[in-house]
């Protein structure tokens, strides 16, 4: 058998897994790998900070569904990536992170740029490895990709000591991976499916509660069939947005802390909650004992630990969402039931739901020429037909994007849901744009968050990867300020951004275009100008919005979801 170097073997593995683009930042421990990478068929995107590399790979993974790959050097390179690895872990994003490590004889000696990254990332990866034998290199990488993309996806880190990467290894042909100890359940138990379907037939006030699992398993079509064939209203978590078309009359929008009045009321009054790929997160449930108090709960999830963790399920179904939804749709199709008739029995329920929406629509107060952030998002939605890729930062900007952009398709909203990582949006936008160069990619940003990974403007420039950064500039760490306003007697401790850069000048310094807008009447023209300019270069829009605008509805933390503060 012919032998190749460890770094050649790594590149071979990447190609074998279909990886065309990786994001990274070099250093001593990975210099061999970079040397090999230079002449390989794998494109490498040089970011400006390792957090950016991992977020960009994450954004790439979220829009494509493929495994995102990042390459970091040992020590500070690896630790700089940790926040972004945790971000991907919380949202179950398939990724492989390769980190350099000091040579095996030095491990444990506090060598230069040595950290125990496997130890550090153990609780924030799906799995991780330190490769300490050359013959383990190839099998480990293959296993890493397998674990990252199967079951409930997640980031897998592989730590690569410098001597292993430089050793000659044998490269055997890839065999199907069989792991005795890791066999995710894809197929649902048909008895449970039947039980669930019969409950659905009986329900008078059913609600579909859709989470990120529907996006990850590419099952929004199957979900849409289920909802429409039986006339069941749909509410989505932040991660589930786009899983069901946002413009469909059955869509009630998001639920939870900043969910729509309609969604939260519907869940509270429902007699059957069908949770699909969602995990009853505290931002969704509010006070747990007041969540869906009258409903039987059907819970479909591929991860058994998600089921009955926060709320006990009456009918648990451990399965891939797609397989489970197909099985349910098949059951209904062959049940001999008249689905139109059953759907029609939900009319009074849908009428109640429409009443709630009429009484308390998603709305905001018009303040004339003072720009309302919600208006900016509405205009973005209108001018892009709900079909742009929207990444977000974190805070009010993120919630306004989730509330007012009507995501029509899955994989269009790229947002840090579980961890809520400020600084995610720009690198993620770059990753998304790399994946789909023809797509319109917009980072809905806050003036605070954007400064956390602003350096990636250079990456966007260098790789001709133009995106729009739409800053909803309130000159505050707005979401925290909102909590202080409501719950801390308006004591704005450290949330006033007393010094903020001139974002237009900053854009120009990075070779991008900057446009400031401070009048409602100019919002539309500004967005149109940006949509034109972004064909050539990255654009920063600095919207000076109503500074103390809040995100509503709001369920205060720990309250029942029906106890909403409204506009």
């Amino acid at each position: 058998m012919e032998k190749i170097t460890g770094s050649e073997a790594i590149i071979q593995c990447l190609l074998e897994e279909g990886v065309k683009t990786i994001f990274g930042f070099p250093g001593g421990a990975v210099i061999d790998l970079y040397d090999t990478l230079m002449d390989s068929k794998v494109n490498h995107v040089l970011v400006r900070h390792e957090q950016g590399a991992v977020h960009a790979a994450d954004g790439f993974a979220r829009v494509t569904g493929d495994v995102g790959v990042a390459l970091l050097t040992s020590g500070p390179g690896a630790t700089n990536g940790v926040t972004a690895i945790a971000t991907a872990y919380m949202d179950s994003i398939p990724m492989v992170i390769l980190t350099g490590q000091v040579p095996t004889p030095l491990i444990g000696n506090d060598a230069f740029q040595e950290v125990d990254i496997v130890g550090i990332t153990r609780p924030c990866t799906k799995h991780n490895y330190l490769v300490n034998k050359a013959e383990d290199l190839v099998p480990t990488l293959r296993e890493a990709f397998h674990i990252a993309r199967t079951g409930r996806p997640g980031p897998v880190l592989v730590d690569l000591p410098k001597d292993i990467v430089a050793t000659m290894v044998e490269f055997h042909e890839k065999q199907p991976i069989r792991m005795q100890n890791y066999q995710p359940t894809y197929e649902p138990h048909l008895g449970q499916i039947e039980k669930a379907c019969k409950e659905i037939l009986k329900a008078k006030q059913p609600v579909l509660y859709v989470g990120g699992g529907v996006i990850l398993s590419n099952s929004s079509e199957e979900l849409t069939v289920l909802a429409k064939s039986l006339n069941i209203p749909v509410t989505m978590t932040l991660m589930g947005l786009g899983g069901f078309p946002g413009r469909d009359p059955l869509s009630m929008g998001m639920l939870g802390m900043h969910g729509s009045y309609t969604s939260n009321m519907a869940v509270a009054k429902s007699d059957l909650l069908i949770a699909v790929g969602a995990r009853f997160d505290d931002r969704v449930t509010g006070r747990v004992d007041a969540f869906a108090p009258h409903a039987k709960i059907i819970h479909i999830d591929i991860d058994p630990t998600s089921i009955s963790k926060n709320i006990a399920a009456d009918i648990p179904i451990v399965a891939d969402c797609k397989h489970a939804l197909v099985a349910m749709n098949n059951w209904f199709a062959s049940s001999g039931e008249n689905l139109d008739e059953i759907g029609a029995t939900h009319s009074p329920w849908l009428e109640t739901i429409n009443d709630w929406t009429r009484k308390h629509p998603m709305t905001y107060l018009d303040e004339g020429e003072t720009i309302k952030p919600q208006f900016v998002i509405e205009k973005l939605d209108e001018l892009t037909g709900g079909d742009a890729i929207i990444t977000t930062e974190v805070g009010q900007n993120q919630m306004w994007a989730a509330q007012f952009y009507k995501f029509n398709k899955p994989r269009r909203l790229v947002t840090s849901g579980g961890l809520g990582t400020m600084g995610f949006g720009l690198p993620a936008a770059i990753g998304a744009k790399m994946a789909f160069p023809d797509a319109t990619v917009i980072d809905v940003a806050g003036d605070g968050s954007i400064q956390m990974n602003i350096q990636e403007l250079s990456t966007s420039k260098q790789y001709d990867c133009p995106v729009i950064i739409c800053i909803l500039n309130n000159n505050y760490l707005g979401m925290v300020r909102q909590w202080q306003e409501l719950f801390y007697n308006k004591r704005y401790a450290s949330t006033v951004m007393e010094v903020t850069p001139d974002f237009v000048a900053l854009a120009e310094a990075y070779g991008a275009v900057g446009i400031r807008c401070d009048k409602t009447s100019e919002v539309e023209a500004t967005i149109k100008q940006a949509l034109e300019a972004v064909k050539k270069t990255t654009v920063i829009l600095d919207f000076r919005i109503a500074r103390e605008e809040g995100v509503f509805p709001m369920v205060p933390a720990g309250k029942a979801t029906t106890e909403m503060l409204l506009v």
């Binding site: 005795q180 058994p304 630990t305």
Partner: protein, 160 residues
């Protein structure tokens, strides 16, 4: 409720810290933990005693299962099982108390494994309750040091 879990793991570096990290990270309780290689040296068996209501123990079991290096998790306390723990106890054994100590050791079928003019090291095995009992009885005489293994357990062979 007390539960005794038997966990079959890959015998590899770092695996134990995945298990203990899971418990500390999620606020689960470990009362005792004992681990060693099995007949197949590529695997180890970990016996873990924990407390919690049904929902918590269900989460613990599922979370353990989710670890890639975990092969099998059994809640031993759901079936008939035998459990043993061993303790080494350094107890004061002076002229006035030596006879009493020996009598207690005898009752508990313990062994003296080390002798010095002023103390014995006693080895005793049994259920956790038995170990606790001998400790309680020897304590007034004067225990200087205790080391316990933690519980190990095995399901009884089903009798047809």
């Amino acid at each position: 409720m007390k539960h005794t879990l038997s966990v079959l793991l890959q015998n590899k570096p770092g695996v134990l810290s995945r298990v203990t990290g899971l418990f500390s990270g999620r606020g689960f309780n470990i009362e005792s933990l004992s681990v060693a290689e099995t007949l197949d040296s590529s695997l180890s068996c970990l016996t873990l005693v924990t407390t919690g209501n049904e929902a918590i123990v269900e989460q613990i079991t599922k979370q353990l299962h989710k670890l890639i290096d975990v092969i099998k998790v059994t809640d031993i306390s759901e079936s008939e099982y035998v459990e043993r723990e061993m303790a080494l106890i350094r107890v004061k054994a002076e002229n006035t108390t030596r006879a009493e100590v020996l009598r207690v050791i005898d009752i508990f079928r313990g062994k003296v494994v080390d002798v010095s003019p002023k103390s014995y090291v006693v080895e005793v095995t049994g259920t956790t309750t038995k170990i606790q009992a001998i400790i309680d009885i020897l304590r007034p005489i004067g225990i200087k040091e205790i080391v316990r293994t933690g519980t190990i357990a095995m399901v009884r062979t089903p009798k047809k």
